[in-house]
């Protein structure tokens, strides 16, 4: 079956611009996670949705970052006033529920802020 998909696969933007990254989870998965991975590092948690609501957004680095999941399926990660330090791979994962279920990852969006 179809896995987690993310678009775009690559995004190049200029410092100060606004970007949106999209995640389409595995069909039927109620839990959705966003992580950020810098070069040579493991993924770092950003936010977790259970259904439509953000159950845990404590990993968002500052108020320039925001994510939504209005219908409990597709999610969008939004970054305002991008900075060069935001350059990273943004990974999305989904699972059947919010407990110890396996999180399945998408291919990521590579964001480069010039």
């Amino acid at each position: 079956g179809a896995g987690v998909s993310q678009t775009p696969s690559n995004k190049v933007t200029e410092k100060g611009k606004y970007v949106e990254l999209r995640c389409d989870p595995i069909s039927g998965h109620t839990a959705l996670y966003w992580y950020r991975q810098s070069l040579g590092q493991g993924p770092e948690f950003l936010i977790y949705f259970q259904g439509t609501g953000a159950a845990d957004d404590s990993g968002l680095p500052n108020d320039r970052f925001f994510a939504v999941r209005p219908e409990g399926s597709v999610s969008t990660l939004k970054i305002q006033r991008t900075e060069r330090g935001d350059s990273a791979v943004y990974l999305c994962a989904s699972s059947t529920g919010g407990g110890l279920e396996t999180q399945y990852f998408g291919p990521g969006t590579r964001l480069l802020v010039l």
Partner: protein
């Protein structure tokens, strides 16, 4: 604070040369430990979940084990296609996030 440390950071193996990767963790209330494989330019691919000390799981040339302080990923008679970064992550009882280590980068030389 939950800590996950993986060693060695990088490892070069000859094809057929078995080895082990280490993941040590310091957490409060471990719910599960996960191993993922990540190829360059790709997202992490799930390998194993271990829940309690003493548990072992196997898949082809890979075997994962868990103690109260660490996990090992044993690679038996590796092939070049086993070249990847192997990521260890923990999930604790108080939240659902995964906390990852930096990974073990493995290169298997033919």
């Amino acid at each position: 604070e939950d800590q996950v440390t993986q060693s060695p950071e990088a490892l070069r193996l000859q094809e057929g040369e078995s080895s082990s990767l280490n993941c040590s963790y310091t957490v409060s209330g471990l719910r599960g430990l996960f191993w993922y494989r990540q190829d360059p330019g790709k997202g992490p691919e799930f390998l194993f979940t271990l829940y309690s000390a003493g548990e072992e799981k196997e898949k082809e040339r890979l075997k994962a084990t868990l103690t109260k302080k660490e996990s090992f990923l044993h690679i038996t008679a590796p092939k070049p296609e086993d070249s990847a970064t192997y990521l260890c992550a923990v999930q604790v009882e108080r939240n659902n996030r995964l906390a990852f280590g930096k990974g073990n980068q493995v290169v298997v030389i033919p």
